[in-house]
Symmetry: C2
Subunit: 382 residues, 2 copies
DNA sequence: TGTGGCTAATTGTCTAGACAATTAGCCAAA
DNA sequence: TTTGGCTAATTGTCTAGACAATTAGCCACA
């Protein structure tokens, strides 16, 4: 006979014990999808319980979607995998679905979600804490199973509060792109330090010595890029001049950053290259330069960061660092799904590789601004 | 005493009769949210049923979310309204969240949804019927309350099938931007005919006579634009030359359309302006023209349609027609919400106004240019 | 071959009870 | 005031049965 299924002395209700046993049998493949399980009468014989008790257990499992009952035919195991997998909803909190890399990120997450019959709820935060806060309440009400969160431009503290709102409710969170110091959840980013290092190195090797960097220090990504820039300079025996660092403490804002650009391009005599914190900033430089009658790259070289999609079709093609944003969305969703499936363990850190894309916004230095370029000029002349 | 609640001779199960009665009491406000309903024992007295039967009824209602039970305290009526009102989810099916106006559209829909505590599930179809079909199945499984659908590049028939899938299940659908002939649901679009008419008129008034139009006839929007273009020409006493109409039957595809562009720009002598079916096509013309050493607008004028966001920052600023895409998303969501709230009536047709945005991709034609080109064309033909 | 009715298996509905577990609220003791 | 225990109310669990409804599959009959 079967081993004792029901422990009558246990404080756990007997119908519940039977339920658990039935689920176990299904999970271990003893009862497989579309199999018929024992009839109520048989279960009464097997367990020694009253039929009403057996019935309670079976009825519950039916309500929970494990079983399906048909008069006269019996009770059958449903394929719950596909069913429970289907009801998964993941929220994605991005600054603005219209701008930057958000569309690419969302699409990566969406594709991975679709592959697994999950759905993606879209939330734009406009990089504001208040909006993120409201949106996260809504997601919680909606009963999402997980969240992909691009931290806002607010303080670390506030971002942390958002994350905790979810984790307190056992809703897994993955930070995408930007991270928050002190956070204990999974995150997926790219190697911003390495990328910026390579980009700076690229400029220096082409004779650039006075490279302005313009970005916001509000985000971990741009902070890392700044560090990469500094490290590359010191590694190449160049002092990183603080007057060349335009580190704003406000997030990207077209009007505002346009003024920075105007300011920087106003001192064009003292610089040879501009490292824009990301492509949108770079395009602002293009626009402002055109206004001011400055030619890129003839008068000054420019590099960006991100490799946003329209970079390709843009007639003035920008040398930049390609970030695998789509893959970042994909990986974020993969991590969320692992967590939803119940994977434990400390926070995972996924760092994706980015790579330099050489286009035509950088020229080697040819004038009297740098020693190396003077040498190369002499060579060309001779 | 209360009227007879249970009809013991009815074939309707008695627990079910009790259930129905309880729901009625709640809906009629006899038992109101957070009220305590009679205890099982009291219900036994009232109905004359066995406690197990009463229990079955109450338990079912608990499972269905009508009631909440607490040991020793009693059974309480839940506020089901707020619960079901909040659970509104709307799906949005766009070609690709990364491209064209999809981000703007999604954001409009999202903002309107957020204002009403609704959520938006994002689905990209890649303009393919098969994907749209799969995604719509998923949305139905997810139990969405409404759908915003941008018809795919597939046949009208297939798009209709997608729409019907939802309507058969009483899920309201709004078509956004593109419509499908013969469809009987609400739709929101812009006045493509008027916009194209105005744009063509604008070109003609600047002396352009030979205006190539390049677009796909797959979508209602572009078909309407083509009609607007033709009407404007005939209204201005110009014959619309079929050889100037490049109407492709395939959807936008970079490589493919690049060849069209190359082809058209190869015959630049016989034309003075190009009307690109939408901005992305226009940007292809920029790129190809640059390749071929052709200057826009000096050698040929160019107009687009849509006014995609990056139009602004693009250094070669395109004269185009601004479509209120954000508002389109907003209005689509508003219509869906009306339908979800149960508003009846025939299909609503919302047409938003677009307007011409004059930038610098068009130059007036000097008389000689028109004449010369006409002559050269005649030579070629003879 | 098809048809209609019978039978037995199975789940669905229901009764009449018993005892268990939880806990709000009261009351007495510290 | 706080603490701890008691009590009664209420839902939770369980038994042992009965009859109802549905229907797959068989069998007999046309």
């Amino acid at each position: 006979m079967t081993a004792m299924i029901i422990d009558r002395s246990s404080p756990i209700p007997q119908y519940f014990q039977l339920q658990t046993w039935l689920i176990e049998q299904m999970e271990q493949g003893v009862f497989r999808p579309s199999d018929r399980i024992p009839t109520e009468e048989e279960l009464v014989r097997i367990t020694g319980l009253a039929r009403a008790t057996v019935r309670q257990a079976v009825q519950n499992l039916t309500n929970m979607g494990y079983l399906s009952r048909q008069r006269r035919r019996g009770t059958f195991v449903l394929n719950r995998m596909s069913d429970s997998g289907r009801r998964t909803i993941v929220g994605i909190l991005v600054p603005d679905i219209r701008s930057g890399y958000a569309p690419e990120l969302a699409r990566g997450a969406e594709d991975e979600a679709a592959r697994n019959r999950h759905s993606l709820i879209l939330c734009s935060t406009d990089d504001l804490f208040v909006k993120a806060d409201l949106q996260s309440d809504r997601l919680i009400e909606e009963g999402v199973n997980g969240v992909i969160f691009v931290p806002t431009a607010a303080s670390d503290d506030k971002n942390l509060r958002i994350v905790e709102k979810f984790t307190r409710r056992n809703i897994p969170v993955v930070l995408a792109d930007r991270t928050v110091p002190g956070v204990t959840v999974d995150f997926v980013t790219t190697d911003n330090f390495q990328g910026a290092y390579a980009l700076t190195e690229y400029l220096v090797r082409r004779g650039h010595r006075r490279i302005v960097i313009a970005l916001s220090t509000l985000f971990s990504t741009e902070r890392e890029r700044l560090e990469g820039y500094k490290k590359a300079l010191t590694d190449m025996r160049l002092r990183s001049d603080p007057s060349l660092v335009f580190a704003s403490s406000v997030p990207y804002h077209e009007k505002r950053y346009m003024e920075y650009a105007r300011d920087i391009l106003g001192h064009i005599d003292s610089i040879t290259a501009i490292f824009a914190g990301h492509d949108r900033i770079a395009y602002l430089f293009y626009a402002v330069a055109q206004d001011m009658g400055i030619s890129i790259p003839r008068d000054v070289s420019l590099v960006g960061y991100d490799d946003l999609p329209f970079t390709h079709s843009h007639p003035a093609s920008l040398t930049t660092v390609h970030q695998p944003i789509y893959e970042m969305g994909l990986e974020s969703m993969k991590r969320i799904m692992c967590r939803i499936r119940g994977e434990g363990g400390g926070p995972h850190k996924v760092v994706l590789k980015s790579h330099l894309v050489e286009r035509s916004s950088v020229l080697p230095v040819r004038d009297t601004k740098g020693k190396v370029s003077r040498l190369s000029l002499q060579k060309e002349q001779s």
